[in-house]
Subunit: 430 residues, 2 copies
Amino acid sequence: MERVVIDQIASWEGQQVELRGWLYNKRSSGKLHFLQLRDGTGVIQCVVFRDEVTPEVFAQCDHLGQESSLRVRGEVRRDVRSPLGFELSVRGVEVLQAAEGYPISPKEHGVAFLMEQRHLWLRSARPHAVLRVRAEVLRACRDYMDRGGFTPIDAPIFTPAACEGTSTLFETEYFDQKAYLTQSGQLYMEAAAMAFGRVYCLGPTFRAEKSKTRRHLTEFWMIEPEMAFCELAEDMDVAEGLVFHVVQWVLERCKSELRTLERDLAPLEKVRLPFPRISYDQALAQLKEKGSDIEWGQDLGGDDETLLSFGYDSPVLVHRYPAQVKAFYMKGDSQDSRLALCVDMLAPEGYGEIVGGGQREDQLEVLEAKIAAHGLPREAFAWYLDLRRYGSVPHAGFGMGIERVVAWLCGLHHVRETIPFPRTMLQLYP
Amino acid sequence: MERVVIDQIASWEGQQVELRGWLYNKRSSGKLHFLQLRDGTGVIQCVVFRDEVTPEVFAQCDHLGQESSLRVRGEVRRDVRSPLGFELSVRGVEVLQAAEGYPISPKEHGVAFLMEQRHLWLRSARPHAVLRVRAEVLRACRDYMDRGGFTPIDAPIFTPAACEGTSTLFETEYFDQKAYLTQSGQLYMEAAAMAFGRVYCLGPTFRAEKSKTRRHLTEFWMIEPEMAFCELAEDMDVAEGLVFHVVQWVLERCKSELRTLERDLAPLEKVRLPFPRISYDQALAQLKEKGSDIEWGQDLGGDDETLLSFGYDSPVLVHRYPAQVKAFYMKGDSQDSRLALCVDMLAPEGYGEIVGGGQREDQLEVLEAKIAAHGLPREAFAWYLDLRRYGSVPHAGFGMGIERVVAWLCGLHHVRETIPFPRTMLQLYP
């Protein structure tokens, strides 16, 4: 008998198949059991009629606990009432393991409890849907990069020095020296861009932030494209192109997941190219009009970002922040020396910053002065300075946070639900 | 004028274009300069005739150092003698930055020196070719997994406990506790397989091995598929299918890179499905016949693997090793309790183990006993045991080392050349 997975069931209408999975839910009446079977690809209703199976099988179904593992044989029947469109008319059930006392019942549980049970919670409909969206976001990112002629180049995780200050770095003994876990692959991508033209990395990055906000994880994934011969305007083009591609890809491929999550699709469908682009100065004017007391020279806070994003249907690009709030490697604006040629992209609906990037300082002397002014160890950046010594070119890039994008697309309050095994200041288990 | 990249040059024959890149090499005669320009996508010969440019441009080309960054304008001409098939007949050259004293000249350098200059060495033809092959290996892996219905699930990097002993773990302070860098995503993939059916992770893993062999890095990338309702035989099918797909993919897409590396294609073209499968006992008999003094119960050493692989054109699968040399989570062989239902795949030409995996112990009591027998902390594995408590099913998976596969396909002696920024016991820079 053919072994079939649930998301392929439509091809087997009218035929006898074997499904293998876990009991997700169950209803019974006198001579009927309705078993909801999940196999990781979908959920199907299996109808067990007392008259169509052996008395032993029917009795066994009476006592089956949630998450018992089963092999179920039967006939695939069209059923217009089910979300799947099909059900299984059962002829036989084999119990591989009868589970008892599964801790996550269909009733409500607190998030803290569920996070402790993350290894099991993944089986529930909502986390399952979120992680399928995450998988498609990652696929969409790679697809966009492939089409754009980018070469994937893996950044190292162990780094000998801090890129943006040491206070939020995880440190480890590395034989007879210290190593730090990377906070960004950017500096390495700059080296790779000079070798490959257009590159990107997509991997985990780390930040030891003593922060319990809903937007922070200690371990999070970023995609970081970097382009040689690229200035700020083109950098913004690529960033908005990537984000737009991801939104369209997920809208096309994740309809049922977004339905499971009860995500309102209207705001996502309103996202349009080109995205609005405003300068920091314009952003400040808008914020003051809306009642913010932000002063020129300050970075935008989370509340400012939320306030600003509510004015737009699409993500908004805010460019040319004061150099004083940005990292040392940002190129200065030749039109106004107080500004950096940088950009942040704020997601709609208050989801905050999803992209940060800009043009990199490409002049050796200027970069050397900035490293000194920031009090950074020159030796650690010797190789980085080499990139300005040998064939320096205008170049730019950005980082997009995978978890924040997934949180936005899924309409989730907290990023911890967007990664399979979240790591926060309070969570290192399972 | 159209800005063009070199690997698209064929579409621009007879037209005026602008190329942007770096001077890779140069030859001059009295009234001619031949500039080899690279832009990350390829290398093209740019011919500068004294009579076709201004005297200033011609004179400037006289003194251009290697890796100077340039904008070059000219006409695309067919040239059957060049590997690319085209050359550029130059009308103008703009020097963005004149580089002097580039440390990696076309002459020979030692590997230690080149590794210190890795941020620049990436621009040279060989490392560039190797990393393009790496990029295609990663694409081939994801493509195979996508077609097979696998969901990508990112494993955590921070783990609360050791999976296979603590001696080779990197440790870090994690707020008020200790965390370890993952050596394998497998245990987490087992949890995910019960939720998604078929899953894989592809990311960095870490091993603090005080080993200076040519097959070891402290930071290396693995793809780790895991499948619910899967036993050893099917696990081997998927592993050989993946490896075969990767080989074909690279043979199709990386012809010019493999030519740059002077890789003999014949051994790769001889790889055929199905791969030979032999038991550990059969492997031992072969090894003894070839003069090895290995005894039953010992793991295969590097030399044994090399000796064995020379007997086959395709990778060889060695299954059912003695349980005593394998990890605690391996399922025992019901036919012979001394054996584990595991498999290693050895690459041809002496490239050693590229895949390791097998069926996982799925019985709660047996697994509990094994954890106790191995002296592992039971609390740390409480969640892992839950997978056997609630709907346990036969399941299996494997890990494939990306760097070892790239080393084999490229015909490289040392894995450190197969990753953009290698990390070894001796190297943490750049």
